[in-house]
Subunit: 591 residues, 2 copies
């Protein structure tokens, strides 16, 4: 059975030595000294390793069941969920006014990586609750907040997001679910929603569904969509639970993975719902929390890659097979460990250099969200808005690839469920699809975010990269980082320029390259992260750190990324520069 | 539920217009006129589409069961297997002396793609039998051939290959299974073998296991391994079935996919076995059929990509979601079909251009095998020996990627088992692992095949590409193909040169780039295939073909590959040229 090793040291390194969080002028950050975060991360790591990780295979094997309308989660999930709730882990960054701990989103993100890495299907229950909490927190009336938030902060009540219907996923304008106004100010919700993660289960006393629906007579399409709070069990005015609402589980979907999470078809039959936010502005309310939700999904990609790598590494050190081509390295054993073989190392370093770079990228994103929200910093808001599709799309595409690569280290054992490596790949696969499929992320990036506010944010990004390169141009120790970063960033700029010039005449010229652009952007971001980490490690070594191994390994891993991953920007640019013709030339009927 | 459309037209195009098979001076090829192959391919396609494809999901859902020592295959498998046997489809290229039809391996390969695409788990039963048939045919005594081959040609008896043990897969020198000589000339085989595909089942009257084992007192390691014939049920001298042999199924493995195939742990407890070939030369006997087996696995990668693409394409034409950015294309519908969106087209063309190029590559490989075996052509033998790891490694890596890409077209539905797209990815995943994991293919290519016979075969390959480019240099219609092929081939040559120069000093410098080299080589091969197909299509158009759409689509698809896939060679070369340092620099304990 696979195991999980919490990356607490690496998280600390990024928080303190790379982002330099405690020194940042962000409310709450001054508390983030090494002792405090160390204590939080150590405790979260223990729960991830000792409580959630052992339930990962259980969740996959047992799955969730629906019997007589009642959904049961796999054995052990309820106890683990209670332990998480009771430890306050569901409330980390929630508003203290409603019982939250008010910690920065940065800490929530660091902890979140460990929880989702150790058991992705499990972590989706509190994760979706957090999303619903954020929507009510941002758009609810005072009464709604008072009624729902305290219970959602503690996960006594959990939450869901209901968007998709059988005939519409990305294109929500086609939605059919209706919300008919009632005399008491509530709405009667009728329709079917599918793919509802954590749709129903036995972990909480109530489930608060946030449901997108159309009020009859409203505007056509996406502009007539509103958001509603629809509790599974109606809540009395005194906060106690009342009658069952008209919402039921149609079935639990059989999926490729995340079997431990109950993905439900939800049927709303005149269920009582209350408008959240403004009539017909449901999409805006949803989008408020989209950045956070998408970053959280990006972290799922990273998390599964991280745990898969951990296990592949352990296997590569343990499994004896063949001899090193340059001479026996384990003369007392019948063979050398797998890790002596260059292609195994190549594979492991592909994973390791992605995981550590992506971890820094995710935490940087969380830092930007804190600055945007806690400091009302429009520059941070613009930048994270630009980077969000990159974090979601690149980290989940690449994260999935890493889980497949990790599986490969195991040879045939990687294909046998007993060893657990298949599950990491099967679970990670969904992250490329939900919360906006990665093609939609690429479209959002190229079609919307690039030109947002006159292109100010992408220009800001380029200036930041240029600034870093200029600042460190004379540092010989960073040459292996600065030069490749500069080249990759030039490729990204050239791609952006191509889109500007061509996209004016033909938007397809830009959209045909959107997938490649998202990946190109992702590589540049990871290149920037590695350059910053290298700088931090060089500084630590120069200051005589006691932990030379950690920092020298960091530099070696970073050099690998710069030398062997970053050149991918060339191919992405070459593809982008072929424009619309290769993609749009063929008539649909001739495919 | 997914469906399968047999690519008979495309197969015909490659056989007749690209490879020009009937005109080749290979025994049996003169019969391969359009009427004959059309009849064979149409019939095989019907079986694939109507008999095997509908059982694909059944196989995945039901899996195989072991009860009281008896393995049962999924419902319908037995009837389908009988239909395949009775139609003579298991005997296509087998020796007429033993009841085979003696058709070229080229035809077997074209048919094989359709059978494995429609139901990979099912096709492994006859597929492994064919492998065992080949080994006995090549190395058996006259008596062994007479006893086993006629029944194996008809699949009345099926076959297996037993190599792997719990502690050794790639490194078979560590093998523990023992073969103790008996007074009657047989051997008593004792040991445990794992991952035995089609290890036992209810489809045939007997299972003929080919088992690698060590004769006590023989040479150490891989040089002391011999191959044995170990029937599940002993065969009497008159050919009738006798007693059960001492071989039993320990368990059926729970796998990520190919659930319809019974992957068994096989226990040999003093089972009666007979030496196949020479004592201690078991690996050589195994390797005789390795080229064919590896090409067959390459075809599995292609096959799953092909069927996944078929379904993704149908979905992209059918599913209405969003509007084309350049203006509504389906004004009467609530939305446009997915295929109007550039990134969906990009995804589909990635798949289509791979599938059609890989199909040509696989058939070219089969053609080389025919020339090597039927014409005793050492040049063809050398070339296919060089290309085999590329066909296996590149087609299965990329084929799997395509199944994942096809799944993505479905959005959330791609993750739900009901839609069948997950199965294509889960099934395709094994092809990257078995029959020599792809890392081992890359090692075989760089460490052995490149330098084979003084590098003669790779030089021959380069000359062939150069020849094609030179011959067509002045053809303006082929410019889009010749120029990119030339550039890609130069990258491959540069990589080979780098290995020669660096590998002399440090073999790790070559092996660190082996994975990239295999992919670089694969791209050049597909580039060559596309250039040849383009030439054939240009010729057909010039000759006034009635099917202009087919050939114009072929050209558009090829141009896509040349413009958007082939530039990948640059990145592979850049990675290769970083040499050993990034990969070997980090000490194992610091990973």
């Amino acid at each position: 059975m696979p195991s999980y090793s919490p990356p607490t040291k690496d998280l600390q390194f990024i928080l303190h030595e790379v982002l330099n969080a405690p020194a940042q002028d962000v409310p709450g950050y001054n508390e983030l000294d090494a002792d405090f975060t160390s204590a939080v991360l150590e405790e979260a790591g223990k729960i991830a390793r000792d409580v959630l990780a052992p339930l990962n295979v259980v969740g996959d094997t047992e799955g969730c069941t629906l019997e007589n309308g009642v959904v049961r989660t796999p054995k052990g999930f309820k106890q683990a969920f209670d332990q998480l709730r009771e430890g306050g882990w569901t409330a980390l960054d929630c508003d203290p006014e409603y019982g939250g701990q008010g910690l920065p989103y940065l800490v929530q993100t660091a902890v979140g990586e460990m929880l989702t890495a150790s058991n992705m299907a499990f972590q989706m229950y509190p994760g979706l609750t957090h999303g619903a909490y954020s929507a009510i927190h941002a758009h609810g009336t005072a009464a709604q907040k008072a009624m729902y938030l305290p219970k959602m902060v503690t996960c006594d009540w959990t939450g869901t997001m209901n968007l998709t219907e059988p005939h519409c996923g990305t294109d929500l304008g086609l939605m059919r679910t209706k919300a008919e106004p009632q005399a008491d100010g509530s709405y009667a919700i009728t329709g079917q929603k599918i793919f509802i993660s954590a749709g129903d289960h036995d972990l909480s006393d109530n489930v608060i569904h946030l449901v997108l629906a159309k009020i009859p007579g409203g505007p056509e399409g996406i502009k007539g969509v509103s958001l509603f709070i629809v509790p599974k069990i109606l809540v009395n005015d005194d906060g106690s639970l009342g009658d069952r609402n008209g919402v039921s589980v149609g079935k639990i979907e059989e999926k490729m993975g995340i079997h431990g999470n109950s993905t439900c078809v939800m049927n709303y039959d005149g269920a009582k719902g209350w408008l959240l936010g403004t009539e017909h502005k449901g999409m805006r309310a949803m989008f408020t929390m989209m950045n956070e939700a998408r970053i959280a999904v990006g972290l799922q990609g990273l998390g599964q890659a991280a745990v898969a790598y951990d296990n592949a590494l352990a296997y590569a050190k343990d499994r004896l097979q063949g001899r090193a081509v340059t001479g026996t390295e384990n003369p007392d054993g019948p063979a050398d460990p797998l890790i002596v073989h260059p292609d195994i190392r190549r594979n492991l370093l592909d994973q390791k250099s992605f995981v550590e770079g992506a971890r820094a990228f995710g935490l940087w994103g969380a830092n930007l969200i804190d600055r945007a929200h806690r400091n009302d910093d429009p520059q941070a808001e613009g930048l994270i808005s630009l980077l969000t599709p990159v974090i979601k799309g690149f980290l989940t595409d690449k994260g999935f690839d890493c889980t497949v690569a990790a599986q490969q280290v195991y040879g045939g054992h990687g294909y046998i469920e007993e060893w657990g490596m298949s599950q990491f790949a099967r679970d990670a696969r969904i992250a490329m699809i939900y919360e906006g499929a990665n093609g939609v992320q690429a479209l959002d990036l190229v079609g919307r975010k690039l030109a947002q506010d006159g292109g100010k944010h992408v220009m800001g990004f380029f200036d930041m990269v240029k600034g870093f390169c200029k600042e460190n141009a004379d540092d010989a120790d960073l040459e292996d980082f600065v030069e490749p970063l500069k080249a990759a960033s030039k490729d990204l700029q050239a791609a952006g320029m191509f889109f500007m010039q061509q996209g004016m005449k033909n938007p397809n010229a830009a959209l045909a390259g959107s997938h490649d652009f998202m990946h190109l952007f992702g590589h540049v971001c990871l290149g920037l992260m590695w350059a910053r980490m290298a700088k931090a490690s060089q500084a630590a070594l120069a200051a005589g750190t006691a932990d030379r191994d950690f920092h020298e390994t960091k530099l070696a891993t970073g050099r690998y990324y710069m030398a062997r991953q970053l050149p991918m920007t060339k191919t992405h640019l070459a593809r982008i520069e072929t424009g619309a013709a290769p993609v749009m030339g063929l008539a649909a009927e001739n495919f």
